[in-house]
Symmetry: C2
Subunit: 230 residues, 2 copies
DNA sequence: CGCGAGCTTGACGTTGTTCAACTAGAGTGG
DNA sequence: CCACTCTAGTTGAACAACGTCAAGCTCGCG
């Protein structure tokens, strides 16, 4: 489950922007309390169903958040990069995690005790409303995800995934995939085999190029059109 | 879009419990400001994509919340009964509604200006945290919905819908459906035809009885098993 | 060199949708 | 009071989308 690291919240360059609302005393509070952890690819950060105690902020690497199913594929609903944290709606409902989080790349994360976060929300209205804003954003993203999964066919779903990777994960039209074909499938709500077939189709139609794990978007507008209509 | 009604927040029996955290002055504030509206079945309360100004509390009737799709079926993710309000994650993100809400039965609802709600959250920590709790609950429910829609086959999804109706909407194992077959389908993420076929199968297997719109659960444990495994 | 994990491909089967036709009941106007 | 229409519900047959299964491939690593 990863090893401990020394870090400092004040100087932290990969700090979530919600902490900008805290004053020095409050920042000091979480700085003293936090724990910074290193995870290897594949290591579990937290597991669906377990009690949730900590707010997790990603400071480097890449994390997948996914809903686990018995006898069925996982569904990845989000990939998280540094300066973002893993939202835990369960913390305010039943103190359980409703999804699992696993490091995809080498990852470092800071863990903050949820009680202290709650305390800070009570003490600092800006912090609380920033928190609510983030939580709301997650919900909006879930609406979008539900919408895509139920409405679109596999081509549209994969197009959505590729656009998401380019715009929000790798921040480039060309990128080296650090996720597996299975994870591409889990992001798109299909089987690994279907994912591979769809990627091949996109490649044959010169919408993308794909060599091993190097993927480049060749025809962005076509991809957007497939995402919208397919 | 419904007609105006006179009501009083202090004496209100179908008041959402989040308002219990308000003191008299604060309650007075929202009482003065609120607008109470009557909606006929089928009338739109708010529409996906429009700006959101108001928090909507249902005081009587039944409302469906659904995601709209172009050229495709709607997806109902929630039915709301009195004492609950329609959560609007968009209010804290882009000031837009990310789903539509329509009265299913004759419905009355109170509308509160969202700015005043935000102001009260800033003034009253308990109110704010109660609000966050409700918002988190909605997110958890969305996780559950995504999970069911992607994991289960139509039988499992319909079983889930029937159990949901019995436990959370009509509060009885036997009930008169006030929603259409199409709406049953939209709740279960399938076509109307499939919904009808599944219901027929359940009826033939004596898991439910169904005469017109009168539905009774005959074999609850079987339904739960189908929900879990199918 | 050989092993194993992840990737790829093809053949086949199942699930659930689509389309079209038919039925029943409620509301309307002659 | 009876056609007429309109909508919701129902049913069957054909079809498409996608998953399953099984086999083979590739590449990195011991």
């Amino acid at each position: 489950m990863g090893k401990l690291l020394k870090t400092n919240c004040f100087a932290c360059r990969s700090r979530s922007d919600i902490f900008n609302t805290l004053n020095d005393d409050q920042l000091q509070r979480i700085d003293c309390e936090k724990v910074s952890i290193y995870y290897k690819p594949g290591e579990v950060i937290f597991k669906q169903g377990t009690p949730c105690h900590s707010l997790v902020c990603i400071t480097s690497g890449l994390v997948k958040s996914y809903i686990e199913h018995e006898n069925s594929n996982d569904l990845i609903f989000s990939l998280t990069r540094p300066s973002n944290y893993l939202l835990m709606p369960g913390a305010f409902v039943d103190q359980r995690h409703h999804y699992s989080a696993v490091a995809v790349e080498e990852t470092t994360a800071c863990l903050f005790n949820i009680d202290i976060i709650v305390e800070l929300m009570k003490a600092n209205v800006s912090f609380a409303s920033e928190f609510l804003r983030k939580a709301s954003l997650q919900t909006v993203n879930l609406f979008h995800k539900i919408s895509g999964l139920t409405q679109k066919h596999i081509y549209g779903r994969m197009a959505d995934t590729i656009l998401y990777l380019a715009s929000s994960v790798y921040n480039n039209k060309a990128f080296e995939l650090t996720i597996s074909r299975q994870e591409l499938a889990d992001l798109s709500g299909m089987t690994k085999e279907s994912a591979i077939r769809v990627l091949k189709k996109f490649k044959d139609e010169e919408i993308i190029s794909l060599n091993g794990n190097y993927l480049e978007i060749l025809n962005q507008s076509m991809l957007e059109s497939i995402n919208k209509n397919g």
